[in-house]
Amino acid sequence: MAQEENLNGLPKEKLIEVLESFRDPEVFNAVTGPWKSRVVWQGGMRAKAYMRNHVAEMDEPGDLTATDVAASAHEQLLSAMGSCITVGYIVNATKRGVRVHDLEIAVDGYFDNIRKWAGVEEEGNPGYGRISAKAFVRADADEETLRDIFRLAVEGSPVTQTVRHANEVSTELEVIG
């Protein structure tokens, strides 16, 4: 049996087969959601997020009186966006047979009005009002191809597009005991 081509650390043919299977309604429903995270408070400003069999810790910087043992949730949002674009870039490059040597994304975010989070102002958006991402890539393809792959990665990034578009978010609270 011929050895399957491995590109960018991924089995290229198998990957394409998996991506094509998203056309199947059953597969589509399964990957649409729900995607789940359970976040458990650990004291102070610390929390642990459990996702499938993975765990991520979160905290806040020491100058907010927190213990700063982990990145904050909003920083992890930036990282999630950068990571999501990274995955998209590698998937699209692999589909096209482009070998990527190095890929790195620097993401910056600026809050609109963080005073609302601090409770010292009533109005405004406490969330990021401006996010930028700059990618650096070294790969075996011409610049036009690499830019096109980047476009597809950004346009197809679930996290980036979640951040970019207004979304329906429902929240509720249940008091126990």
Partner: protein, 387 residues
């Protein structure tokens, strides 16, 4: 030492690498090309680089550092116990990642593009650092030969990384003992093979003195750990003098500049040599090879106090511009420095190399050659006047 004309023309070391050479270097680093296959290509590039210098009238030639990834990282192939690591790999071991991130943001560069030789085991010599380069050059030129090697301070500071190197050497101080031993052996071997000029590259000294938090470079991955400049300069002097103790019979120099990774002058370091000179003058070497062609190098009056104490390798052209400096301007620059140095103590060189980092040529070979031609034309005028 061979006879040297007045106002000898030389280079600081590196020459722009061709695209095919850069590809080959990358393939070699990825284990996709053998050393001998790489050297076959590099041999031709070195010969071409030597010919360009000879045709431009250069008196003391280099091999253009064509075989090197950069002026200090190449030692990973020559020494046991060192590994070429990307800053992106070092992030896993850094104590202050936030500070490294600030530097990366300020420079607008990816962490994967910057590589440093890091000590991960007991340092040992596999072969000479540059003996192969010298042997090859001697077969292909009858001009005097300059070999640039990393200085002891540069090699120590750039390769000791807390979190990795401290598993083998308790401190950079401990590591420096082995670095000095290796460099002493190298200097002696180069001298005995007939090298005319050994240049120690210590560019991070200016980083230590002039670098501010937002403008630091990863020329040395460990640098973002701030230290006291005076202590660092004293450390550098001590290491250099331990390296050179009792050695004579070969011209030596130390090269200091203010950065050569970008053509944007405003991101490079600024400041005159005043704070450094008291220390550089204590180094047991013959020549200071200095960047002097841009306003960033500051006033030349700072040399007044140290007139004629050492030779000066005067930077007379900017290696990062397309404009060719007119010979008359170079002559004027030399006349200016002759207030403080006698003619037999002045060498002419560009401010730095033309391709310090293999993948970051700062100029084309054509422009580099024209700049060297202008320097040679200036030397002819100066020799007629002062010879």
């Amino acid at each position: 030492m061979a006879d040297t004309p007045l106002f000898p023309v030389t280079t600081v070391g590196s020459w722009p690498r061709s695209t095919s050479l850069i590809r080959a270097l990358r393939a070699k680093q990825n284990g996709e090309m053998s050393d001998s296959e790489f050297n076959r290509l590099a041999d031709q590039e070195v010969i071409s680089c030597i010919r360009s210098q000879e045709e431009a009238g250069v008196d003391i030639v280099t091999d253009g550092e064509q075989r090197r990834d950069n002026f200090y990282s190449y030692v990973v192939d020559k020494l046991a116990g060192m590994q070429l690591m990307k800053v992106s790999d070092l992030l896993d071991y850094a104590n202050d990642r936030a500070r490294m991130e600030e530097v990366l943001r300020a420079l607008d560069v990816p962490a994967f593009a910057i590589k440093s030789p890091i000590v991960v085991d007991k340092l040992g010599k596999k072969e000479g650092l540059s003996l192969d380069e010298l042997a090859f050059m001697k077969e292909h030129t009858d001009r005097q030969i300059k070999i640039p090697i990393p200085g002891p301070y540069m090699l120590t500071r750039s390769s000791w990384f807390e979190g990795l190197s401290d598993k083998v050497y308790e401190s950079a101080e401990e590591l420096s003992k082995d670095v000095v031993t290796i460099l002493r052996e190298e200097v002696l071997a180069l001298r005995d093979m007939g090298c005319d000029f050994i240049q120690f590259d210590e560019p991070i000294l200016s980083q230590t003195v002039f670098g501010e938090e937002s403008t630091e470079t990863f020329m040395c991955a460990a640098l973002p750990q701030r230290r006291d400049p005076t202590e660092e300069l004293e450390f550098a002097v001590r290491l250099m003098n331990e390296t050179m103790e009792g050695i004579s019979g070969v011209r030596t120099g130390v090269h200091v500049c203010r950065g050569n990774w970008s053509r944007k002058e405003d991101v490079l370091l600024v400041g005159n040599y005043g704070p450094m000179l008291p220390h550089l003058m204590q180094m047991n070497i013959d020549q200071l090879v200095l960047e002097c062609a841009t306003p960033r190098a500051g006033e030349m009056e700072v040399f007044k106090e140290y007139a004629n104490e050492k030779e000066i390798g005067l930077g007379v052209v900017n290696p990062r511009t397309d404009e060719i400096e007119p010979a008359e301007d170079i002559v004027a620059r030399v006349r200016d420095i002759l207030q403080y140095f006698s003619p037999d103590k002045v060498y002419l060189n560009p401010d730095c190399g033309f391709g310090t980092f293999a993948e970051r040529n700062v100029n084309t070979p054509e422009i580099a050659e024209k700049k060297l031609q202008a320097m040679s034309a200036a030397a002819v005028i100066l020799r007629a006047e002062f010879g």
